[in-house]
């Protein structure tokens, strides 16, 4: 299971997927500069990422709490998600994300 993550400068990292972890936790563990200041409580919108290459459509849509919290994120696009709400599993193998600006 692999996750591809691009930072704000365009540098790509390949991260080993960990079943049950959130994407936010995996980005943080890999040392990517993701703020995630509330620690995964869907309360701050500072773990905002864009899902690339059609991945947004492949995943179940965000729940209401995440959609609401995205109103507090900057530079939201149609493929925006909060990475603390994405839980890693086999279905996410190959997921491509880009860190949103902050």
């Amino acid at each position: 299971m692999k996750i591809f993550a691009k930072d704000r400068e365009g540098k790509e990292s390949v991260i080993e997927g960990r079943d049950g972890w959130t994407i936010m936790e995996m980005l943080r563990d890999a040392g990517l500069p993701i703020t995630a200041e509330c620690g995964g409580a869907c309360a701050c919108a500072t773990c905002h990422v864009y899902l690339e290459d059609g991945w947004y459509e492949k995943l179940p849509p965000p729940k209401e709490g995440e959609t609401d919290m995205l109103d507090m994120a900057l530079a939201v696009k149609p493929n925006s998600r909060l990475s603390c709400q994405l839980i890693c599993s086999e279905e996410l193998d190959g997921l491509k994300v880009t860190l949103a600006p902050e």
């Binding site: 200041e37 509330c38 409580a41 701050c44 500072t46």
Partner: protein
């Protein structure tokens, strides 16, 4: 300006670590003043997750961020700490007599024997949208809060965001602005429904404009805004005459002026020793999420432990030559008197 306040400890940050520091200092008869940029106690607990349950506070199987804060406030009440809310600690200076002078942006000056930095992730500051050159307009044409509504009278006002602040100010400024445009990334809002309904009425009446759009660029000269480029969901871009831009995307933590205090920092954290929780500058202590040391965990309970050890070390600076008598609250009548239970 009034004369400086004199106390034992000046605490920067009124989150759980700063609050419990009042307790531990208080048991040792040390007085404290706290400064916090927020308008109330609790820090992240009340700003980010007041309603969310916390399950890892020893002895409290489940407690919300707000409830934990309320309980800490109750616990430290006997020690009569003074809170300076809505103020940002912005300068720290060592005085010739060895004490510290902590100043705030509101002009408060606190002279203390020790300073305790319990600032978590730093100061809560408004999120700044990633619009190129926005800094040049801040304070003149770009505002993250409304202090005086009158300055928007007769102006072309642009508001961005979908929360309560964005909607409330849309409704409040609509009657006095020359024109008002609200932009948000979707045609849905997390704000209170009645505000959203009222906003939609104003749009229908042609009194304000709403667009699913984002602000791409700002235009103007010498800090005075004259226009903005908006981009719609369909990537279409257009120009909007704009005198004032108000982005409302909530708060985020920035280290802020603490970086200028002259304290040694490592990746925006304060390295401390784990016996005293003192920074590399004697007399300046650090506790809670803002400190780093081998094995550090950003947990509230770690902040409590750090506060207890800090207080022991701070005592020897505040009361040189005095013997510290270590006592337990269960058995010491003098501690119980301080707590007001006997």
């Amino acid at each position: 300006m009034s004369s400086p306040i004199e106390t034992d400890a000046a605490i920067v940050g009124a989150g759980p670590a700063g609050l419990f520091a009042v307790f531990e200092l208080g048991l040792l008869d040390l007085k404290a003043h706290l400064v916090d940029i927020l308008d109330r106690a609790g820090g992240q607990c009340t700003e980010l997750y007041p309603e969310k349950p916390i399950y890892d506070i020893p002895g409290l199987p489940i407690v919300s961020g707000q409830e934990l804060t309320d309980r800490l406030m109750e616990q430290i009440k006997p020690f009569g700490a003074t809170f300076h809310f809505g103020e940002m600690a912005n300068a720290l200076e060592k005085l010739p007599d060895g004490r510290w002078k902590l100043s705030t942006d509101m002009g408060t000056e606190i002279v203390a024997r020790v300073v305790v930095i319990a600032a978590g992730g730093g100061s809560f500051m408004p999120k700044r949208p990633p619009v190129p050159g926005i800094e040049a307009y801040e304070g003149s044409s770009v505002h993250y809060a409304v202090r005086k509504m009158e300055i928007f009278r007769g102006k072309n006002v642009l508001i961005a965001g979908g929360g309560d602040s964005a909607l409330d100010w849309t409704l409040n400024l609509a009657p006095i602005a020359k024109s008002l445009t609200l932009v948000h990334h979707r045609d849905g809002f997390r704000a209170a429904q009645h505000s959203v309904n009222r906003m939609r009425e104003l749009v229908e009446q042609g009194k304000i404009n709403f667009h699913v759009a984002s602000v791409k660029a700002l235009h103007g000269e010498g800090g005075a805004l004259s226009g903005a480029t908006l981009a719609g969901a369909d990537k279409r871009e257009w120009h909007l005459e704009t005198d004032a831009f108000l982005p409302f995307f909530g708060l985020t933590m920035k280290l802020g002026p603490i970086a200028e205090f002259g304290i040694n920092l490592h990746e925006n954290l304060i390295p401390v020793d784990t016996a005293r929780f003192e920074s590399q500058t004697p007399g300046i202590f650090g506790i809670g999420d803002i400190v780093t040391y081998p094995g550090k965990l950003k947990l509230i309970l770690s902040g409590f432990h750090e506060a207890a050890l800090m207080a022991q070390a701070a005592f020897h600076i505040c009361r040189p030559g005095e013997k510290l008598r270590f006592q337990y609250t269960t058995s010491s009548s003098s501690l119980q008197k301080k707590l007001g239970v006997i």
